[in-house]
Amino acid sequence: MTTPEEQPLDARPPSAAVRARPVMVRLRGVVKRFGANAVLKGMDLDIHKSEVVCIIGPSGSGKSTMLRCMAFLEAYDGGEVFVEDRLLGYSTGRDGQRVRAGDAEINQVRRNIGMVFQQFNLWPHMTALGNVTEAPRRVRGMPRAQANELGMRMLEKVGMAPRAHAYPAQLSGGEQQRAAIARALAMEPHIMLFDEPTSSLDPELVGEVLQVMKQLARDGMTMVVVSHEMGFAAHVADTVVFIDQGLIVAQGPPQEIFQGEQHPRLQQFLQNYLERNAFWTR
């Protein structure tokens, strides 16, 4: 899908060690249009086992859309998304044309993907524990006692065990997001997608969520994080991907992206970020 002119010149491959691991998610020429407007213009990306990929870029660049295509919350219009080598969202119809797969088949491929949202999206009529145990019970058919035990273990992991029986409305934003992470973890995903997980949090609550994500990364979870938290990207990511206007403009290890020779658009983006956030050094 990508024409040679559009291919970024300074895109760097991920480091050899990471690249040697098996590919968990493979994007090939992924295109997404909203009406006449192409939001993703042909994206290629490999996400390897236990790799932490941070996606940065200006708003409207297509970061969230790309992440949502990986969970098939948006149906992409061109190219392919493979999750653990299985094509996500489509199957081949009788006439050889690509058709949207059935719900059950999509769920099969998506089963190992967990998603965390900017707005948490907890179900307000269930407690934190209820939110975490819902999918194990309904989707896996796990008995209540076993699901509760699993749920408590997941809440423990994110430091939310003492708040297990609180309803979302009784929780702070940071607590809600940690419960939402526990909810996704309860389905034992192989890949976790984070869509601006800290963007709707008060600044003092951002740290507790990032802490949980760092622990996940340490535990070897494969993670794709769309975020404006450059600190997290710099310290935790194996690979930073810079997206602008629906294309991957640069990708590489954080030190290359943040300190290496920079594509002009990336340079401008980071300069803007610096001016907004590090005013005390200027």
């Binding site: 179900w123 819902e134 989707v139 409305a169 389905m187």
Partner: protein, 220 residues
């Protein structure tokens, strides 16, 4: 003015019978209306465009024409297409159809009030469409719509009075019959008003109770 209560006391059996028919047609009509309305609202969410246009047309026609005319069509026009219904059955069915259009709109508004992200979370976790409806959407939607739901049910309780025109022996039919025979219209009409007030107040009380009960977690 002097009220002659003997008109009422001598017809107690007939009046209570009429009240029972009013209750029966109302409750059965509301039940049909709610089930059909929910089915319509759920079908609309699937977003299949020809079906949606058809459902939209149904709602517009039912809401856009008088209940009285719909009843005439069903009861007097029905036989010409082979639909021969007892008066009470036609009344219940008519009320169900009439109510379904309003209930469908209530449910649609309720579904739309739930943030889309909650459904996306359910999708990502592998919940099926029906599990998402039953476990995530319905419980929340009920809380949101209880006030407009009880409002619609109250409106329908009074629409049962219209069934008298297709000879359903419900409260209005029975009492106006007694009025015409005895010329005691004041007594009869006052009784009629109290009859419906009783129904409406019962429903309103139940609605408030339900609102308090289902809304508990929202108030925390």
């Amino acid at each position: 003015m002097k009220l002659d209560l003997s008109v009422l006391t001598s017809n107690t059996g007939a009046i209570l019978g009429g009240f029972a028919i009013t209750l029966e047609t109302w409750i059965a009509g509301v039940a049909i209306g709610i089930l059909a309305g929910l089915a319509i609202a759920l079908l609309q969410r699937r977003g299949v465009s020809p079906i949606n246009r058809l459902l939209r047309l149904y709602i517009e026609v039912v809401r856009g024409t008088p209940f009285l005319v719909q009843l005439f069509f069903l009861y007097y026009g029905g036989p010409s297409i082979g639909l021969q219904l007892e008066a009470v059955t036609a009344g219940i069915l008519g009320l169900g159809i009439y109510g379904s259009a309003y209930f469908a709109e209530v449910f649609r508004a309720g579904f739309n009030a739930i943030p889309k992200g909650q459904m996306e979370a359910a999708t990502c976790l592998g919940l099926s469409r029906w599990q998402t409806v039953r476990r995530v959407m319905l419980p929340q939607m009920l809380v949101i719509i209880v006030p407009s739901l009880s409002n619609t049910i109250i409106v329908l309780s009074k629409e049962t009075a219209v069934l008298s025109v297709i000879t359903v022996p419900e409260l209005t039919g029975v009492l106006t019959g007694i009025g015409s025979a005895s010329y005691a219209f004041t007594e009869v009409l006052v009784t009629l008003c109290f009859g419906y007030l009783l129904l409406v107040e019962m429903t309103a009380w139940f609605g408030r109770w339900a609102e308090a009960k289902v809304g508990r977690y929202m108030l925390r």
